[in-house]
Amino acid sequence: MWSPKAFLSCLCPLSTIGIEIAGVDFTPHPGFAAPNYFSGTNARAFYRAQVTSPHLHISKFEIYLNNFATLTLNTPYTPGMPGGGEEPGTLGGVMFEQEGAVMFDSFYYSYPNDSVVVKCRVYAESVPGVSGSWFEHEYSAPAKNRAALFGINDLEVTQPPLNLTGAAGMFAASHSLAAIAYPKSLTYNWGWNHSIFFDRTGEDVNVVFYAGHGTPDAIYDGQQATQNEFGCSIGIPIYAYYNIPNPSIEADRTWHIGTGLPPYNSTGKPQFNLALHMTCNSFGSPNLPSGESYFSRYFYPYWNAYGGFCENQGFLGWSLTLDVRDYYALSTLLVDELAQGEKLAVAMQVMIAGAPNSHHNYAIGDALIDQDGNTTLRRVYDPNSSLKRWWRPIDMP
């Protein structure tokens, strides 16, 4: 059956332009690029609604995620309330505009089968406080569940954390870093080369530990780097290896869907695991803004389609070279905590406390969180609360 609402939704399902539906103007994601998909723990559903004639007042505003009510704002008409436009949306006690946003964890849904339907319901009153009607608008985007955590290993103990300069000890460090994948490959007698790393050890991986230093040209020229160029055991230009035509950040990532290549998980195995990728100097490039080049390419869409560095993304880095014998155990501790929805900083703390005795004395100061220590992989976080849940209302700018 033809419906004007569905027709309008099809015309502009993700537009930031307001969509008027018989007296209520709905705007999904006002002021922001609407998402092509929801991914990670900082996925956001955002709506603004404005009444148009003959309606005057919004008394209820609700946001649903797949028919699950997440946000309800009640604004009953109150005659005599201060208005005059001092506060957005109010005029003489009449709420002609309302907006709300919900942050949620896309891992709550199943990739690749689930779409997240964001619905906004509004009760608009033509005679404030007396009579009105419900109006609603919805759009959907797939859940893709890409994790957004990675680590950088600092290779010189004497350098400040996350300093990517200097190459001393890099080769030894590469083997330490590879520890999470290397035993796996050996255990299953897969051998050890680039193909095996990405095809086998990385098949159920969507959290990537990344170590810098290197050769950005190898990435941008589409040439597969050799071990000699990199001086470490892992490190290939991803799109070159997979023969991606017309490489671009988005093309790369889109191409990787279904490959099992991190951070995608198309195998039905545990939703995240650790991988390592090592290349060099990947934070600088003449082709993209400095500091965003390889990171952007590999972790696209780390911006989660909203632009700007979003919250709830953390970098975990070490200012020392972890012992190869410890690394697997430490990583397991870290992942166990993250799997339970723990904050990255707390998981790091557990990992350090659980470190086996070795020649290293691990300390929190050695493993610092860059960006946001509240990062979680399985829960929406609230810095002001220890509660863990998969969604929460948020304030949008």
Binding site: G291, F309, N357, N374
Partner: protein, 205 residues
């Protein structure tokens, strides 16, 4: 049949808990008793007040075993603390530390002037705290790193973690056991951000 299966599963779980053996065969330590829980709460409240100057109520604490039960995690909105299974204190991390935000990319690492305070200030502060947390310790091998780098892209209102003083030293008990102690302080406010101690290392003959 379903009910029988359920009973079987529950039974297995109970047996697992009693026997202290996890599914993967790894040893799982016994659950905390009420007495231990009570002690843990008291210790947590004292430590959070001492280290971070925050008042914490019992009911606000979330306690759970981690690392196969070898470590006990105590979470509060002000702090995250870890204890060994024998309830000895291992580490504390303030929520302020967790909330610190830095920007990425080394191109933003512009050196900036920082206060030229004495490192001894931070050593003394650390030892004072350490003595109140762990008694009967002697100290040696003090090391202080004053981080004085500023990230130009740090969001407004946030303080870079680089503005910290990282203090480490060796603490030796009367019995001769040696442990590494580490603190991180905010150099601007003086607030303690983290405190931790490693496991005892064997006495060298």
């Amino acid at each position: 049949m379903k009910i029988n299966s359920l009973v079987l599963v529950v039974g297995c779980l109970l047996v697992t808990a009693v026997n202290g053996v996890g599914q993967d065969g790894a040893t799982v330590t016994t659950p905390l008793s009420q007495t231990e829980l009570s002690r843990l709460r008291v210790k947590t409240v004292s430590l959070v007040r001492l280290l971070f100057g925050r008042s914490v109520r019992d009911g606000e604490l979330s306690i759970r075993p981690v690392a196969k039960g070898k470590i006990i995690s105590v979470q509060h909105r002000y702090a995250s603390l870890l204890f060994d299974r024998d309830l000895s204190f291992r580490s504390a991390m303030s929520s302020e530390f967790v909330n610190r935000t830095k920007s990425s990319g080394d191109e933003t690492r512009n050196s900036t002037r920082v206060p030229t305070e004495s490192k001894q200030v931070w050593i003394d502060r650390s030892k004072s705290l350490a003595k109140r947390i762990w008694s009967n310790l002697s100290f040696s091998n003090e090391r202080v790193v004053l981080h004085g780098l500023k990230r130009s892209k740090a969001p407004q209102g946030s303080t870079s973690l680089s503005q910290t003083a990282d203090v480490r030293f060796t603490a030796t008990s009367d019995s001769g056991q040696s442990r590494q102690v580490a603190f991180i302080f905010d150099r601007t406010t003086g607030a303690c951000l983290t405190a931790e101690i490693t496991r005892p290392t064997p006495i060298r003959s």
